[in-house]
């Protein structure tokens, strides 16, 4: 018989799950758990400076490796602080596990000190959640949490553990097996055959690749499919990297800030093959006018995504890796010369930032892309800098691109980059950030320094909430309100205060040399890049408009 406390059970089950790093912040209601972690020789704890940071670090680990990661928070304010990172994981289908402390079971419902209804608050932002009522339940709940997080469409799971449950000793016979993904039933062969037939008959097909392709580890099969039948491919914000940016069949990103040629090609396609993408509004623009000439095939693991936004002609429900693998032999090799010639013409006609210069956002990002190795991991915050990076960074591999897509959370970049660096100690991690976003989780600079991580922050400082400023410029009669920072923050000094190396490219005559130096220096580094607040992300589809009505998308010459 085994006799253990709830806290020890949690730690040991996480060890058996293969967890080697956890992030978090301790407090009264998870101290027994922290005490148990202090005795683990397998798991390293990384102390964040804000629970939201801990949550995004877990995301950075998971997004870069595909493996579930664990973050910890105490009850009350610890739990409320970590909610944003969980909601963010839900919208992007990221399987993280969050373990929160809770007041002892007899005090639940009494408005005890630091009591909030964590279970109730996390119902709508998790894939599933648990409130554990006795230590024996942990033996099923912990493996079950991992199983749920990883099965089907992945997502975050929260486990709320009252303090007395952490302290309770229980006796049991054996440790349960680690939780793992339940296999998804194979797609219906009839649907596969129908999809293959449509693809083989199509004159102007486009593949629309989303984050699901990466979650399913299906990028090689997706690439093989595109290449065999010569199908040009667009990617959602989360799908970037499925096809390398410079792949001849890549049309880059679609949608609100997509490539102009991608949006124009979608106007002309006669078949859209959506794989692991959910027709998000930033991608489709006004749905009724999205791909007006196309039939639609939707390949996905989540039945509730089928027909949710756009009615599909063929739905193939199943794990994308299996689905694409079954589809591949049924697809005829085709040259599709006419369609590819047309797509090439669109690319020439509507290029992205053709005159980018060294210190332009586009030019700078391309330079950084050139300086970085193939396996570099790139994170972003949210705003103009995010969209410029999505558009201009030479995405080369999947799982190297960490960005908050569905929730669009400012403050994501730095802690996500820290998490990626923790999980990939031999790789360089670069976070493209904005001044507004960095200020939202800047305290994690302390964590980056403490752990001496190879994280480089490239800070686009336009002294503004740039993307808000851009919308006020374009859609609110240039009435700039609450989008300029009146006071200039000295980020280099702040970085120094945290113990980081830092430099500014302001006034530099050899920015590329400075960049190269900074990227080559081991350890955390902040590179400050001054930006003009009037620089804009183009094209831009006005919110609610159709993609073809993108601004800066030279629609005038096609009306």
């Amino acid at each position: 018989m085994i006799q253990e406390t709830g806290a020890n059970i949690i730690v040991h089950l996480l060890e058996r799950q293969g967890i080697r790093i956890v992030t978090g912040i301790p407090g009264g209601m998870n101290l027994p758990l922290y005490d148990a972690f202090s005795r683990s020789t397998l798991i390293k704890h990384v102390l964040a400076r804000h629970e939201q940071g801990a949550g995004f670090m877990a995301q950075g680990m998971t997004r870069s490796t595909g493996q579930p990661a664990v973050c910890l928070a105490t009850s009350g304010p610890g739990a409320t602080n970590i909610l944003t990172a969980i909601a963010d994981a839900k919208l992007d289908s990221i399987p993280i596990i969050c373990i929160t402390g809770q007041v002892p079971v007899p005090l639940i419902g009494t408005d005890a000190f630091q009591e909030v209804d964590t279970y109730g608050m996390t119902i709508p932002i998790t894939k599933h959640n648990f409130l554990v009522r006795n230590a024996a339940e942990l033996l099923t709940v912990i493996p079950e949490a991992f199983r749920i997080a990883l099965s089907g469409r992945p997502g975050p799971v929260l486990i709320d553990v009252p303090k007395d449950v952490q302290n309770q000793t229980v006796t049991f016979e054996a440790w349960p097996e680690p939780g793992q993904a339940t296999p998804t039933p194979a797609a219906d062969p009839k649907d596969i055959a129908a999809a293959a037939q449509l693809i083989n008959q199509a004159q102007r097909p486009i593949l629309y690749l989303g984050g699901g392709v990466i979650h399913a580890n299906a990028w090689e099969t997706a690439r093989a499919l595109a290449e065999k039948a010569h199908i040009p491919s667009v990617m959602s914000l989360l799908g970037l990297g499925v096809l390398p940016a410079h792949h001849p069949l890549s049309l880059g990103m679609l949608g609100m800030h997509g490539a102009r040629y991608a949006n124009w090609a979608l106007e002309e396609c006669d078949l859209l093959i959506a794989a692991g993408s959910r027709f998000g509004d930033r991608a489709t623009g006004k749905v009724a006018q999205f791909c007006p000439q196309a039939k639609i095939i939707h390949l996905d693991i989540d039945a509730s995504e089928m027909d949710k936004i756009k009615k599909a002609d063929i739905r193939v429900l199943g794990d994308l890796r299996d689905t694409l693998a079954s589809l591949l032999p049924k697809i005829e090799a085709q040259d599709r010369t006419a369609w590819l010639t047309r797509v090439e013409a669109l690319k020439k006609e509507h290029p992205l930032y053709p005159e980018a210069e060294a210190l332009d956002p586009a030019g700078l990002i391309r330079t950084v892309g050139r300086l970085l190795p193939e396996n570099a991991i790139v994170a972003t915050d949210v705003g103009q800098h995010q969209m410029w990076t999505a558009q201009n960074y030479p995405h080369r591999q999947p799982r190297c691109w960490l960005t908050s897509a569905g929730l669009g959370t400012m403050g994501f970049g730095l802690p996500a980059a820290i998490g990626a660096a923790l999980a990939n100690p031999d790789r360089i991690v670069v976070s493209f950030s904005g001044d507004g976003s960095l200020l939202m989780n800047i305290q994690e600079l302390a964590t980056a320094v403490e752990e001496n991580l190879n994280v480089k922050i490239i800070l686009f400082d336009n002294q503004a909430l740039g993307l808000v400023h851009q919308q006020q410029d374009l859609f609110f009669g240039k009435r700039y309100f609450a989008s300029n920072f009146k006071f200039r923050t000295d980020f280099v000094k702040i970085a120094h205060g945290f113990g980081l190396r830092a430099l500014t490219l302001n006034g530099s005559t050899e920015p590329e040399f400075l960049l190269e130096e900074a990227l080559r220096t081991e350890g955390p580094f902040l590179i400050h890049v001054p930006m003009d607040v009037h620089d804009k992300v183009f094209p831009m589809v006005p919110p609610g408009a159709a993609n073809k009505d993108m601004l800066g998308g030279d629609s005038h010459d096609r009306a």
């Binding site: 119902i123 894939k127 749920i148 989540d302 039945a303």
Partner: protein, 97 residues
């Protein structure tokens, strides 16, 4: 209450019987802005499951709602009955003004 049969449908859910289940089911309706006209929940004797009866609008979002219900981890099965199902009709006497 004869309007009850107009564009309404009855859903029967078999769910795991634990304290959070109702919150998950009801929360889904409010989060997806879907109306529930009636709700009934009782444990199924001698099992660890409960049965939830829902009276909902039968509009073009119903299919999406059922798919979302099926995704809930604590929901074991969802069955759709015709509007003629009498579970709510038989309760009418308890709801007279």
């Amino acid at each position: 209450m004869t309007a009850l049969n107009l564009k309404r449908t009855v859903l029967e859910l078999t769910v795991k019987n634990h304290p959070g289940v109702m919150s998950h089911v009801v929360g889904l309706f409010s989060r997806r802005a879907f109306n529930v006209e009636g709700i009934l929940c009782m444990p199924v004797p001698d099992t660890d499951t409960s049965r939830i009866w829902l009276l909902v609008n039968d509009d073009d979002r119903l299919e999406q709602l059922i798919k979302q219900l099926q995704k809930l981890q604590d929901v074991i099965a969802v069955q759709q009955h015709g509007a003629a199902h009498d579970v709510f009709v038989r309760l009418e006497t308890f709801f007279n003004a």
